[in-house]
Amino acid sequence: MQIPIMAHLVLGYPTLPESIRTAELYIAAGCAILELQIPFSHPTADGPVITRACQVAVEEQGITVANCLEAIAGLTSRFPQQEIIVMSYLNRIYTYGADRFREKMERMGIRHLIVPDLPVDSPVAKALHQPGQLQLLPVLAANVSDARLQQLLAAGHDFFYLMSDFKITGSTFSLNPRLKHIAQTIKATQANARVGIGFGISTAEQIHQVLEVADCAIIGSALIRAQEENRLNRYFNELLLETTKST
């Protein structure tokens, strides 16, 4: 059974093999989507938990983009049914070569890419967004205008990442009231488009609140925190249990 959660992790944190084992845990538990973040020295839109994880992966573990691609390829070949989304800050992709990166993604069967510091219609984005193949997920907040939303929908995006509120990752959760309108607008225009909401989600109650508006809840910092406190298994399974209870 698929649970409407997008579980996030930082590749290479605390080590590459451990991050792969964590990915396997999320897959085995039945979470609908796995979000794999390629670590970056300066994750400009992340809160302290993910920033620290990135720093460990980059500075202590020396994780390269090539290491990450290899790890992702391993997961996609072993779990071909699992939906996997890759997340990376732009400079790592730009340095690797955007075209080369896209080709790798397509070869691995990755269909969605999150690049938080890349407006999806900027010049560099063209190399990473090919409707029907690899697509960029717009990461939107409650201040997105209706006109902008229509523009993005017209560009063929079929998955939207909404920030729960004006926050960075790992902040205290709150759900901006305008997100409901944004999600409805997306669905009304493109019935097949999916909507995920993330940033600050850590409890089943918050997941339920988010699922009233969106197709999936995105969980990142809370999982890393649980892992650091050696309670990931228990925390994650309880979260899933309570999420499935009433959905």
């Binding site: 970056f40 020295s41 300066h42 400009t44 839109a45 302290p48 920033t51 720093q55 980059v58 390269t64 983009v65 732009l90 400079n91 790592r92 992709i93 730009y94 340095t95 690797y96 938080p116 510091d117 890349l118 407006p119 999806v120 900027s122 010049p123 560099v124 717009p138 990461v139 939107l140 907040a141 201040n143 997105v144 205008s145 902008r148 920030m163 004006f166 926050k167 960075i168 902040s171």
Partner: protein
């Protein structure tokens, strides 16, 4: 952006944020509406007579412009080469060129109806100027500063706080300017209704062009002063380069004077290994970070490298996309000066001419002294003294009079 009929200056003034392949707007979508509002306001205000009048009035009445172009006869004779002149931006209110773009942006922010200002600072000069301008214009002010800079530029922290600003030390990363920029952007994501008063010619559009626009007064005055005082344009114009605001301010008016050579001086730090310097043009590679496409110091796999400079204001990983383009075009040349030569330049300028420059500016002087020795007395070098050196009290004192510093510390502790 270069076409055969237009000039460098026109291209920068009319740009939509692209300078050759550089520049752009690479930020999270949540920041786009705010940036678009600022870009639209800038586009309108740069030709609005009311705005320009308010800007120039504040530069005169609050900041103290124009600043003088000062000949350095004793030093020039001592070196025995070119005649060196100094544009004394250290005489600006709050002690550096930074206040030029702070005044411009604060007036713009007021016109946008903003009430809260966010800023980053390295040396503390941009933060100090922002705090002063915010107090003057009645704006709430929060300044982010890397923990290391917070400690090494302590006098400026105190001035900012005295002016009512909230100064937040940033504990992330290498705890310098780069980390302060990131913290300021995060604050802006959390408060998109605030105004981010960015302090150099870097970042997403419109900041590189807009700060150049507000800083170009430096070169405009300098060029006219050269014509008045020496009857011609100079042969060389030099400025230190952190992000590039004082350099762009100084160079802009000279960009289309082909006979004037423009030289940007980066921080050579204490060596050429990664992490030992901040020489972006010399040792950086192309990348996209903190909102813009330019040269950045990196590790080869897309991570941003740490930097070092004795001057907090030059201790930064990126460079203005406008300067990156002008470097590629060959219009601006780049050199480096080390920590040691910059410190020596502070001492030399102080003894020979009675002027104590900021450590940042001292990098430009260090290179100017070297170059002047190889030139002839009919040649003229103008150096932008982007700031004055009082803020560096504890750094230069530790270097020149370590014993005095220790005694001052002990005395202060005794109360």
């Amino acid at each position: 952006m270069i076409s055969t009929t237009s000039t460098y200056r026109q291209d920068i003034l009319s740009s939509t944020g692209h300078f050759g392949p550089y520049g752009g707007t690479y930020v999270p979508e949540v920041l786009l509406p705010g940036l678009q509002d600022i870009a639209a306001a800038y586009d309108h205000l740069k030709t609005d007579p009311d705005f320009l009048d308010e800007f120039h009035t504040a530069l005169r009445e609050f900041d103290g412009r124009p600043t003088p172009l000062t000949p350095l006869p004793r030093l020039s004779a001592e070196i025995g080469g070119a005649q060196i002149f100094l544009k004394n931006e250290g005489l600006n209110h709050t002690g550096a060129h930074k206040i030029n773009h702070c005044i411009g942006q604060a007036i713009l922010a007021k016109r946008l109806g903003k009430t809260r200002i966010i800023a980053e600072t390295g040396a503390g000069q941009h933060g100090y100027a922002t705090a002063a301008v915010c107090a003057r214009f009645g704006l709430d002010c929060t300044v982010y500063m890397g923990r290391i800079d917070y400690e090494r530029q302590r006098p400026n922290v105190y001035w900012m706080e005295l002016l009512g600003a909230k100064v937040v030390p940033v504990e992330d990363g290498s705890q310098t300017l780069n980390d302060a920029v990131i913290a300021a952007f995060k604050d802006w994501v959390e408060h998109p209704e605030s105004y981010y008063l960015l302090g150099s010619a870097v970042g997403p559009h419109p900041y590189p062009a807009m700060n150049t626009f507000f800083q170009k007064i430096v070169g405009e005055e300098t060029r006219q002063q050269c014509l008045d005082q020496i009857g011609r344009t100079p042969d060389y114009v030099m400025a230190c380069v952190g992000g590039g605001s004082n350099a762009m301010g100084m160079f802009f008016e000279f960009l289309d004077d082909e006979q004037v050579q423009l030289i940007g001086v980066e921080a050579g730090g204490r060596g050429t290994q990664p992490g030992e310097h901040a020489a972006k043009v010399r040792q950086g590679v192309k990348g996209i970070f903190e909102g813009y496409h330019s040269y950045f110091l990196q590790d080869g796999d897309g991570n941003i490298a740490s930097t070092h400079s004795v001057s907090a204001g030059l201790d930064y990983c990126g460079i203005s996309p406008i300067l990156a383009h002008l470097a590629d075009e060959g219009r601006v040349q780049f050199a480096t000066a080390s920590d040691e030569t910059a410190l020596a330049a502070v001492q030399r300028l102080a003894l020979a001419e009675g002027i104590i420059p900021a450590l940042e500016s001292a990098h430009a002087f260090a290179h100017a002294f070297e170059l002047a020795a190889n030139l002839t007395p009919d040649q003229v070098i103008v150096v932008n003294a982007s700031g004055r050196g009082e803020k560096d009290l504890f750094i230069t004192m530790r270097h020149f009079q370590p014993e005095s510093l220790r005694k001052v510390g002990e005395l202060l502790l005794k109360g």
